[in-house]
Amino acid sequence: MEMGVLIIVLKAYMVFLVFLITLYIIRHLIFTYNRLLGEQRISYHDLLDSDLPSVSILIPMHNEERVADHILSSLIKQDYPKDRMEIIPINDHSEDRTKDILDEYAKKYPYIKPLHRLGDEPRGKPAGLNDALKIAKGEIIVVYDADYVPPMGQLRELVVNFVDPEVGAVMGRVVPINTPANLLTRLLDLERSGGYQVDQQARYNLDLIPQYGGTVGAFRKDLVLQLGGFDNRILAEDTELTFRLFLKGYKVIYANRAECYEEAPEDWRARARQIRRWSHGHNQVLFKYLFPLLRSELSFWQKLDGILLLLVYTVPFLILLGLVDSIILFFLGEIQILSSFFVVLSVLAYNSFGNFAPFFQIGAAGYLDGVGERLRLLPFFYFIFLFNLWYTSLGFLDAVKTSITKRQATWHKTERFRK
């Protein structure tokens, strides 16, 4: 009798998982078709306006001597009026030459005002941003990670979107600069294309929940201060801000043309740490905002998209459980649940979660970007699937642990590889 109940539970879980994954496949198919065939929504980048708001550019930095010079030299070339901008590099307990580099720049350029965070101050991006927000004078805050290389006109392209009073934050597009380095960077390049060129743009087109990604992004300072700044305990301050803004009735705009180079991790250990941290932070946001989202006044489709977005880093863990479930069912001789239909769905499931952008979505992004031979690498996403499954699941467990123990999560910065 007890075994019978167990088998029913195990089978029910498999059916639930297939349903959930099918839901994601449909979602991403809609995104892909929308991007290829649907009407495209433009951000406000075509507006020219001589009345630009004041801007503070915040750059969280921890041991960034390899990249600090690149981002600062890119920012001083911006075509934004210099009397309307300030740059605040946040030196977060660096132990290398970062402080010296920042001070040298500050001597030359009065609008570069480094914030040195030392001693017992809590480390991490949210804490650094909170401190910088206290001294920032700009109406609009633009955030870049230290490894980014923004093109000359980017500040204007991001900031002009705040002409719309409903816009709380703007997100630009991230493009790896070190694509040629190795297989990992080439795969991350494709993954980013699918995620931004198709996923983010389609969500913006469909008036769903485009995500503020914490870098190549901007937000209204007063609004974020009214919301109480960033939660130091949450590792994904970007995802958290996205949901806080939508729950308060504001929007996030995706500006596909505001493209910026970043450095993708070049080794699998660095990528593992990065994705585990993302999963940890994202799941913290899930625990905090799932019920407020359900109770919110957002539209049905926004709520559905919001739930699926919140669950993105939880589903790999659920798939991992599904794999264990299927092995148990196999040895119990009970694997025939949905017969061949189930097998087809499983294949689709693999296609859907081989990465953070399904194959067909990456293919569409490649088509839109006009790339060619690199799409032949798509089958290698099978390994990314297994890799993500494991490290995202660990991140999920980290989030469960910190939520139960209420302990402060540790911020692990992504290693830089630039020579």
Binding site: L47, S50, P151, V163, P165, C260, V371, E373
Partner: protein, 303 residues
Amino acid sequence: MMEYILIFTFVVLALLPFLPGLLELLLKRDIDPLYIKQDYSKDPAFFGRSFQKIIMETSKKGLKKISENTAEIVLSKGKPEKMVLFKNKVGGKLSDLVFAEGSEVETDKPLETPKEVIIKGDFYIQHTCIMRSLFVLGDLAVDRPLITKRWIHVEGEANIRAPSDLGINFYARRIQILVSCTFKRMFAEVIKIGEEPKEEDFKGNVSYIKGTIKSKGSLNIRTQDKKLVIDGDLISDKDIVVEGGVWIKGSIFTHSEAVLLKGVIVGEEGKVKSVVAKKMLILAEGVKVYGYLHTDGEGKVEI
């Protein structure tokens, strides 16, 4: 033996999907990062300024003359192109670039070329002109149709008094249009369509709205006797129609169509504001805009 064949076949079939990827990894045929133009800066005079830069560089070196009336110039594609030289009169059906170096240039017959036309001084069009692009260092006056495929750049003032196709980008210091035209993008300190409405008229019995107006649906603003000043922007997901004595001091943005009718002013003197309508932008007689007009669809001046 059969087992080995089956295992071998299985391994081959399992690895087959990776073969094209392995080849790409070895051959590295498509390895460069996606291209981002690092020095990109939004500039409505981009086409003309880039062209001007090439012309200036060529002028510094001196024109390489091939004959009395022709010279060679190297444009962005890197290979030399033939250029027909004129003084003060231009015209004819040509297949090359046109360069007129007079300070006051006019057409003496219809002009047609699939290439760029460069005028070093003022340019008076009194015959139909068809060209790829037009660069004028002085003023431009158009009294016969001008059809441009790409862009027009006028360093001085432009007066359009004959129906014209103003290409995908029209830049001048000041623009006045007195007839029906088509365009995609237009930029000037001030763009006047027909008889201009005046800011001085917005005194006395005037309603005033401070702040931006945003609408998910269509936005229709029409005034009759009383004038209206909106000190902010107009934003809508659907159509925007503005008519009557309305002065919008900010910009106008719509994902759909915008129609500006008689009596509308957009922007303020000395500032740059925009009217951006993704699908269609129509300007009627009696409209004034300080700055920039943009549509991805059809842009029309209807007089």
